[in-house]
């Protein structure tokens, strides 16, 4: 198909349709709304289910119900709305059924603002809900990648009977880029062995997240973790830029990652050997790649549009083998390449130590500003 | 002549709540204090003649423990 200039939110919505979305449940919230609005128009045209739920709490529980039938189902929201989904997300995880969620992150905490942010990393990756579970979290950095990741999200969610969340931000959602949408894929309804779809001529099926006997819940928790081990082994995805000869490594995801790329080019132009690691799966996190880079890199610069959340995963992976610096713009501020360039130059020209807490070191610099 | 009836009460389901005892218009159901169900309840049973098979006990039973039978009189059969 030809490339068209398309907005991130609309692209993700249309991609979901073409990848076989059969039911969408959501509630309006900026900067995600165009996604819901596009589906409000398209889904009924196609005779598929669209419901503007009364709230995000209701939306996630509608998703829960539809997911139990084994079809491709999705919801989307932005930060405060996703917080309201926490209980439902935990139920879906505990019931081990596939679902796709999109969080077009905005500035927080609280009502905050509607500008692009990455401050829901912890919530998405460490699980905002209660109990032991992990979700797959995918971070697109362009409209094309957002389209592709929607497809991947459905595939992985079904393969592992898990939640796959796309962690975008206001900028991905609002930006227009040339991108190619997939062909419309015909819907052929499966009847997964677990789906409670009321089909006749077979034993009844049940889907629940309750295991009153601690022993049974423990087995469930271990089953989930075992599945997670496989996901970690098979599904880590990331993109490398100029890493082969890199002495310094910038780590950034989504919008922060692509902005870092601009800074990188400028730095290279100034002769600094710096590369970029852009995690695409935030969860599972490309820990082994970071560990490997930590062996040879002089230093890391983690760049995020928050106060340092992925930073913890980088630190855990690096295990103190290389110094780590942090640069963040929280609250909906989108950094300019020049700022990141300045940080790269600072790093390249200073004595780095492992000891210090990168987040607090950055805070001191930020407060000094 | 009143229809003749009978009830079987399942030990597996009966919890000895006495709702049937209380509901039976013929007052022919009681708990069997001589027996305990696997769950440790005294189950209901017919303790004297007079069951008409009206099935009221089965209407009130919360545990679907009662099976009710009614003798088919010639009249009824003919009808």
């Amino acid at each position: 198909m030809a490339r068209e200039l398309i907005k991130g939110n609309v692209a993700m919505a249309e991609a979901a349709i073409r990848f076989g979305l059969e039911a969408y449940f959501g509630y309006p919230i900026t900067p995600q709304t165009e996604l819901l609005e596009h589906l409000a128009k398209r889904m009924p045209e196609l005779g598929r289910a669209f419901v503007q739920a009364e709230s995000e709490v209701a939306a996630i529980n509608m998703v829960y119900g539809a997911a139990c039938t084994g079809v491709r189902v999705m919801s989307s929201s932005s930060s405060p709305g996703v917080s309201l989904m926490s209980e439902g997300i935990s139920y879906i995880a505990g019931t081990e059924i596939p679902a796709v969620l999109i969080n077009v992150v905005r500035g927080g905490p609280g009502l905050g603002n509607i500008a692009p942010a990455q401050s829901d990393y912890n919530q998405a990756v460490r699980g905002g809900g209660h109990g032991d579970y992990r979700n797959i979290v995918l971070a697109p950095a362009s409209v094309q990648e957002a389209i592709d990741l929607v497809g991947l999200a459905f595939d992985l969610a079904e393969k592992y009977r898990t939640i796959a969340m796309i962690l975008a931000d206001g900028s991905i959602g609002q930006m227009m880029e040339p991108a190619e949408l997939p062909e419309m894929r015909p819907i052929n309804r499966q009847d997964p062995a677990w789906a409670t779809n009321g089909n006749p001529d077979r034993p009844r099926r049940q889907l629940t997240s309750i295991y009153l006997e601690p022993h049974d819940e423990e087995i469930t928790n271990l089953r989930l973790l075992k599945r997670w081990r496989d996901i970690q082994a098979n599904e880590v995805r990331y993109k490398e830029y100029y890493l082969d000869d890199a002495e310094y490594v910038v780590v950034g995801f989504g919008t922060a990652g692509r902005i870092a790329l601009s800074a990188l080019r400028a730095a290279r132009a100034r002769g600094i050997k710096v590369g970029l690691l852009r995690p695409i799966t935030l969860s599972p996190f490309p820990a082994s790649v970071v560990a490997e880079l930590a062996q040879r890199a002089r230093g890391f610069l983690v760049v995020e549009m928050n106060t340092g959340q992925m930073l913890d995963d980088v630190r855990m992976a690096a295990q103190g083998r290389a110094p780590i610096e942090f640069y963040g713009r929280p609250g909906g501020v989108v950094p300019f390449p020049d700022e990141i360039l300045a940080e790269i130059e600072r790093m390249a020209s200073s004595e780095l130590r492992v000891e210090t807490d990168p987040r607090m070191a950055w805070l001191e610099r930020a407060l000094a500003r | 002549m009143a229809a003749k009836g009978w009830i079987d009460v399942s030990d597996q389901y009966c919890k000895g709540c006495e709702l049937c005892v209380n509901a039976c218009p013929q007052e022919v159901i009681a708990l069997d204090m001589s027996r305990l169900t696997p769950k440790g309840y005294h189950p209901a049973h017919l303790f004297k003649d007079g069951c008409t098979g009206c099935a009221i006990c089965s209407v009130i039973c919360p545990d679907a423990a009662i099976t009710v039978y009614r003798e088919v009189t010639r009249a009824a059969a003919a009808a």
Binding site: T30, Q174, M176, I259, S262 | -
Partner: protein
């Protein structure tokens, strides 16, 4: 090659579409491009702006602090962005809404009374096409033809009949700008 174009003005001046037309033209000319708007809660009378980045390689940041190229359609935007333009850059100013002279001499400022010209052509909605045409004078990567083609391809059906006037607006703006830049046609 990478160039950033900032377009700013009041909501309703066609700022966002102006940017999209440039983006379409760049895309159809086989370039990489990003278009990103400022967005906010639904409120009237605010200012709107968007940034278009065109390049021949994967684009990093869709935003920039110091664009080489910009269009400002009203005074507040002029005051806000004049200082941000890269030295040597080109700034197209809608003179109809601006009553002051340029402060900077290290950039090329093109003044063009877009509102009046648009009304001459017969539709003041064409203001944005005039300034876009003018911008092309400083943006050789996108030809006038490419832009016209982009309009043909992407102008909603119900507006197709307006194409000739749009072309006229583009050309007018382009010519005046060229004249001001003294670049031989």
């Amino acid at each position: 090659m990478q160039k950033e174009i900032l377009i700013a003005g009041f909501g309703g001046q066609g700022v966002l579409f102006a940017g999209q037309v440039l983006a379409y033209a760049a895309m159809d000319s086989g370039m990489e491009v990003t278009w990103i708007p400022s967005y906010g809660p639904e409120m009237r009378g605010g200012t709107a702006n968007c940034t278009v980045v065109i390049a021949d390689e994967e684009i990093g940041s869709p935003l920039t602090q110091h664009p080489p190229l910009a269009i400002v359609l009203n005074l507040p935007s002029y005051d806000k962005y004049e200082a941000e333009i890269q030295a040597g850059g080109v700034l197209v100013v809608n003179q109809s809404m601006v009553d002051r002279a340029a402060k900077r001499s290290d950039i090329t400022t093109i003044f063009i009374a877009a509102n009046e010209m648009a009304e001459q052509i017969g539709d003041k909605k064409l203001t944005n096409m005039i300034v876009v045409g003018a911008m092309l004078a400083g943006l050789p990567e996108i030809s006038l033809e490419a832009l016209e083609q982009a309009l043909k391809n992407h102008l909603p059906a119900r507006h197709q009949k307006l194409l000739p006037k749009n072309f006229e607006a583009l050309r007018k703006g382009f010519e005046i700008a060229q004249a001001q830049m003294k670049i031989p046609a």
